[in-house]
């Protein structure tokens, strides 16, 4: 570990632009929370602590002090306390399973002095730090199975505990920490498999078996083509598959008077073609062809097991929940109602919105949970596309600045941590705004820095200012 002789904070090294963007987003968030609480009649002062905007103002004050403290603490302590803090957080998460208060089905909250705190928010910090410490240590090799497995374990452990709290939304966010692993050079195929699994899971329910199979074949062949070229071979291969499918499909009808589905026909032909693919790989000494064959086989096994689990293991209400999550079965009274009202609020904003405090959907409470998960509805309705675009742009700018800051870091610890933070911001923003505009399933996570709620605001502020501190320290040397 490098040592430094000057640990005092150098104000000039702080990325003030990012801090300004951060502050702007926090203030805009508060302004919109005020609008949600405002009902057109008399409201108390800005610091009316009975209201949400009053409480949020207090939290903002706490964040300012916390930020100052973080900037003053020597950054070596983040290294030193990374592991103990990680374990402490895991212990706290487990304790919440037994001691926490249940809100909306998730046992994810503890109350301290009447104030609810969501430990899963703060565990993001410790997990990011622990991951940075482990992956950033000397001797970590992204090619060594044991090291990579440990890195994954650091991420998966809190996910498992949080899933046990039945707070799936918060758990998903931890997947953002895979991004720094990718950046550090962990084998890309692992991520291909993870993304493939997620996509297969979604498309499993959206596409017919035949379409899904055809899609998988097409993706594998295209991937191999991108890697190795030789496109004529690919075309011949695809033509042969098509021809074979047609021959089996109609041949069975004509000569055996039996109906074989298109899906079964294509599956049979594709499986039969695998030896040919292997022979091709062997002859041309193209070892990566095996990977695409493997990806295909993996997809088949994965989809079959989802099918099996969905049909035989899950109970009907769990099945419904999944279908609803994927937007396959509408439910205008429940979750579907929220999404619909959210789209209406945002969509009715037009170019420039209805004006501050003038949003009718906001004022008359048509969107549930509007100051927390659906805070973006207020932006969309009252500030229109122009306002939404500005907020979106600020988030994008902040994330890109953080990524560039990460790329500038020479110390792996800093780079990994800041990339992890940027990825968590990104995932939160994409899922939250995507949810409000109906692109994403309804997953209850916050819009960072914007949504009402002390835990989320404070956790993201701490995450952010640690990154700022780390970024400033680098130039300090």
């Amino acid at each position: 570990m490098p040592t430094r002789d000057n640990n005092s904070l150098n104000i000039g090294q702080i990325d003030w632009s990012s801090v300004l963007i951060y502050a702007t987003l926090v203030v805009l968030g508060w302004v919109n929370i005020y609008s949600v609480a405002h009902d057109g009649g008399t409201t108390g002062g800005i610091l009316d602590f009975g209201t949400r905007y009053g409480k949020q103002a207090v939290w903002i004050g706490i964040c300012v002090f916390t930020a100052a403290a973080i900037l003053l603490i020597d950054d070596k302590y983040y290294h030193i306390f990374a592991y103990p803090a990680y374990w402490a957080a895991i212990a706290l998460l487990i304790a919440v399973i037994f001691l926490g208060t249940e809100i909306k089905g998730a046992r994810a909250w503890i109350f301290i002095g009447g104030q609810g705190v969501q430990p899963a928010e703060f565990a993001k910090i410790t997990t990011a730090l622990a991951l940075a410490r482990y992956v950033g240590r000397h001797g970590f090799s992204p090619r060594r199975m044991r090291d990579v497995a440990m890195a994954f374990a650091i991420i998966i452990l809190p996910i498992l505990v949080i899933v046990l709290q039945r707070d799936a939304g918060s758990a998903i966010v931890y997947a953002a920490l895979l991004v720094p692993l990718y950046r550090e050079g962990v084998n890309g195929w692992i991520f291909v498999l993870i993304i493939a699994a997620v996509l297969l899971f979604i498309f499993e329910f959206l596409l017919t078996p035949f379409a899904l199979l055809a899609l998988v074949v097409a993706v594998c062949v295209a991937g191999e083509g991108l890697a190795n070229g030789r496109w004529r071979t690919k075309l011949i291969y695809l033509a042969a598959l098509t021809l074979g499918t047609i021959v089996i499909y109609f041949g069975a009808q004509l000569f055996f008077a039996r109906n074989i589905s298109l899906f079964a026909s294509l599956l049979a032909v594709t499986l039969a073609s695998i030896p040919a693919a292997v022979a091709y790989a062997y002859r041309h000494r193209l070892r990566n062809v095996y990977k695409y064959v493997g990806l295909f086989v993996f997809s088949l096994i994965f989809v079959s097991s989802i099918d099996y689990i969905f049909d035989n293991v899950l109970e009907s209400h769990q099945q419904e929940r999944i279908l609803l999550l994927l937007g396959i079965e509408g439910d205008l009274a429940g979750v579907g109602y929220q999404t619909n009202q959210s789209k209406i609020a945002i969509g009715s904003g037009g170019w420039f919105g209805k004006g501050y405090l003038e949003g009718t959907q906001t004022r008359f409470n048509f969107v549930p949970e509007q100051s927390t998960d659906y805070i973006f509805c207020t932006v969309g309705e009252e500030w229109g596309f122009a306002g939404s675009f500005v907020v979106l742009g600020l988030f994008c700018l902040l994330i890109v600045r953080l990524m560039r800051m990460a790329e500038r870091q020479t110390e792996a610890f800093n780079r990994i941590y800041i990339h992890g933070l940027a990825a968590m911001f990104l995932l939160h923003v994409i899922i939250n705004i995507g949810m409000t505009v109906g692109l994403m399933p309804v997953i209850g996570i916050t819009l960072p820095l914007f949504s009402y709620g002390g835990s989320s605001l404070l956790a993201f502020s701490i995450l952010f200012f640690i990154a700022i501190k780390l970024g400033a320290a680098k130039r300090d040397r």
Binding site: R183, I344, Q361, E381
Partner: protein, 606 residues
């Protein structure tokens, strides 16, 4: 190969692009969300205008508006209250009150809905005085008929039907619309313009204030009043005389085509078709075998009988096959081959005046055959077509185009029709009874009145109409100002009218006793043969003979001889209209005390 950092930058850019494009789409491109947002928060409350009033020609009210109050209830705000007192104020049973409350609760506990409709003002005042929390009243107006007259004429107002909403976007599901008579014909004038009050409601449907400070609210514009051509006192007299009988009376001012009277019997109390009992009353009226909801003046058509003889006389004069002085012999019947049309005993031979005066069937059979078998035409069909064209020019066999939308055309036989019926094998003998207004000839009482007006005018008519003035306009529909000329030269009318004058004033017998001394009434009785029962009694007349003021047609189903009932009714109406009073009380009593049995209608009940 791209560096992994670059791939990450690209992913970020793509993700934000997708969000931005999606936002642009739902906020700027797709208008459905703005509509849905307005549906969410804007409640359009319709403010109903009062319908236009309807007056008679002398400015007396025929239709007024009455204020009523709907009792609204918001179940959530209701506190325990004295249900017995509430029931007695509204005039309902406790069960009805409970049912109404349950219905309101099912609709919504937070939003107000109608508990009881159309309460009188006294009830509203009492409810406000006692102060029942959770209840309030809403003002609106309904129709009221102070003189209880002209049910079918004025028509009624009812809830709009789906077809009305399809035809005219003005209407919404809860609106009312004129469904018959004047209310229907002048719906667009009478209905006014609805106002709207736009309120903001929250997610619970509770009003939170006005939208844009009422900038888009509009006040209702009351409907325009109408002065009809009806003479209220004449109408009242007509309905009084028709009571208990089935038939109708139409009187027209010949010079203008204004309808002075249009009475159809049996009629109904128009107040029955308003208010809370409308449903029950409607069913009762609809199921009455005498069909009181049928406006017989325009919707029924009958054989005109002998009143049609003047039509044939005019056509014969115009076609040159008859002169007023030409005499024909009558020996009690007209017989050719197996055909036989009987006549009454009278002097013979007869000329035109005398033929009309005595209603000689023989004379008109000969005249009619002369028209059809006129050697100017190649064959009987051509002659018949000429005859039918003349008849049609008087307004028979087609809708006159009056302002009654349910007017019927009656029936004017055609060559094609008889060709079908007789497979082309027919001649003037086959259709002989058209000479005396029988066979396939059918006319509505309105058409007969219009024909009488043509006689009074000596050769023209205005389309009969019911509206005299629409209060915010300078004129009524242009078609009513137009003169229509039948295909008969005006000089042919006088001999016919002379016959009608003699019929009333020189005949002797019962007809003579119904004449109007000094008023020069010209008329013609008709006794239309009716295969289903006793003959119909009909009479048409106008008076005075010179510069006529009124033309009347009376048609009494199963009334027997034209002189028996139809003539005294017409005579009394003319007296009332020309002198302003009825002095012949004995005639009124005679008409009212002549009962007519209607087995055709009343035995159908079983």
């Amino acid at each position: 190969m791209l560096s992994r950092a670059s791939i990450l930058y690209i992913l970020v850019a793509v993700a934000f692009m997708v969000l931005a494009v999606r936002l642009f789409y739902i906020q700027v491109v797709d208008p459905q969300y703005e509509r849905s947002a307005n549906n969410n928060v804007l409640r359009h409350e319709v403010l109903y205008p009062a319908r236009g009033e309807v007056y008679d020609r002398n400015g007396e009210f025929l239709v007024q508006n009455r204020e009523v109050y709907d009792l609204m209830v918001t179940p959530r705000d209701v506190k325990p209250f004295d249900t017995l007192m509430m029931c007695s104020i509204i005039g309902v049973t406790k069960e009805q009150l409970v049912t109404a409350m349950d219905r309101a609760r099912r609709f919504s506990t937070r939003r107000a809905s109608v508990a009881f409709e159309m309460l009188p003002k006294e009830a509203k005042l009492k409810i406000e005085e006692r102060g029942f929390p959770g209840f309030h009243t809403v003002y609106r107006t309904i129709r009221s008929y102070p003189r209880n007259v002209g049910g079918n004429l004025l028509g009624y107002v009812g809830k709009v039907r789906p077809i009305d909403m399809e035809r005219d976007e003005f209407y919404r599901a809860t609106d009312y619309i004129g469904l018959s008579g004047v209310e229907r014909a002048y719906e667009r004038v009478l209905r006014g313009e609805k106002g709207v009050r736009i309120s903001l409601v929250d997610v619970h449907g509770i009003v939170q204030g006005s939208y844009a400070d009422g900038a888009f609210d509009t006040l209702p514009v009351p409907g325009t009043a109408i002065t009809t051509t009806i003479d209220l006192r004449l109408q009242l007299l007509a309905e009084e005389l028709l009571a208990g009988k089935v038939g109708s009376v139409v009187a027209i001012e010949p010079a203008t085509g204004e309808i002075l009277v249009m009475a159809s019997s049996p009629t109904y109390d128009p107040n029955d078709m308003v208010g809370r009992e409308i449903g029950r009353n409607f069913v009762r009226l609809r199921d009455n075998p005498r069909a009181p909801l049928l406006n017989r003046a325009v919707q029924s058509h009958y054989p005109p009988g002998s009143t049609f003889k003047m039509v044939n006389a005019l056509i014969a004069l115009e076609e040159g096959v008859l002169t007023p002085t030409r005499r024909y012999e009558c020996h009690g019947s007209y017989t050719v081959g197996r055909s036989n049309v009987r006549c009454r005993p009278h002097y013979s031979p007869v000329d035109l005046n005398y033929a009309i005066q005595t209603s000689c069937n023989t004379y008109f059979c000969i005249v009619f055959r002369n028209i059809l078998d006129n050697r100017r035409y190649a064959n009987v069909k051509e002659g018949f077509a000429t005859w039918a064209a003349h008849v049609g020019s008087f307004g028979f066999g087609r809708r006159l185009g009056s302002d009654f939308l349910d007017e019927r055309a009656g029936n004017l036989p055609s060559v094609a029709g008889y060709d079908r019926e007789y497979r082309g094998q027919w001649n003037s003998m086959t259709v002989l009874t058209l000479a005396i207004g029988q066979d396939k000839m059918e006319a509505s009482p309105l058409q007969l009145a219009n024909f009488t007006a043509i006689l009074a005018n000596r050769g023209f008519y205005h389309i009969p109409h019911i509206v005299r003035r629409i209060h915010d306009r300078d004129s009524i529909d242009a078609r009513f100002y137009e003169r229509h000329y039948p295909t008969i030269d005006p000089r042919h009318y006088e001999p016919v009218i002379e016959g009608m004058w003699r019929m009333v004033n020189e005949s002797g017998g019962t007809a003579y006793s119904y004449r109007l001394p000094g008023l020069d009434m010209c008329g013609k009785t008709g006794t239309a043969e009716n295969p289903r029962g006793k003959d119909h009694s009909t009479f048409v007349c106008f008076a005075p003979r010179h510069s006529p003021q009124i033309a009347v047609s009376v048609y009494i189903e199963h009334g027997g001889f034209g002189s028996a009932l139809a003539m005294p009714i017409a005579s009394l109406l003319v007296e009332q209209y020309l002198t302003g009073k009825v002095e012949r009380e004995w005639m009124v009593d005679m008409v009212k005390n002549t009962p007519i049995p209607y087995p055709v209608y009343d035995n159908r009940r079983q």
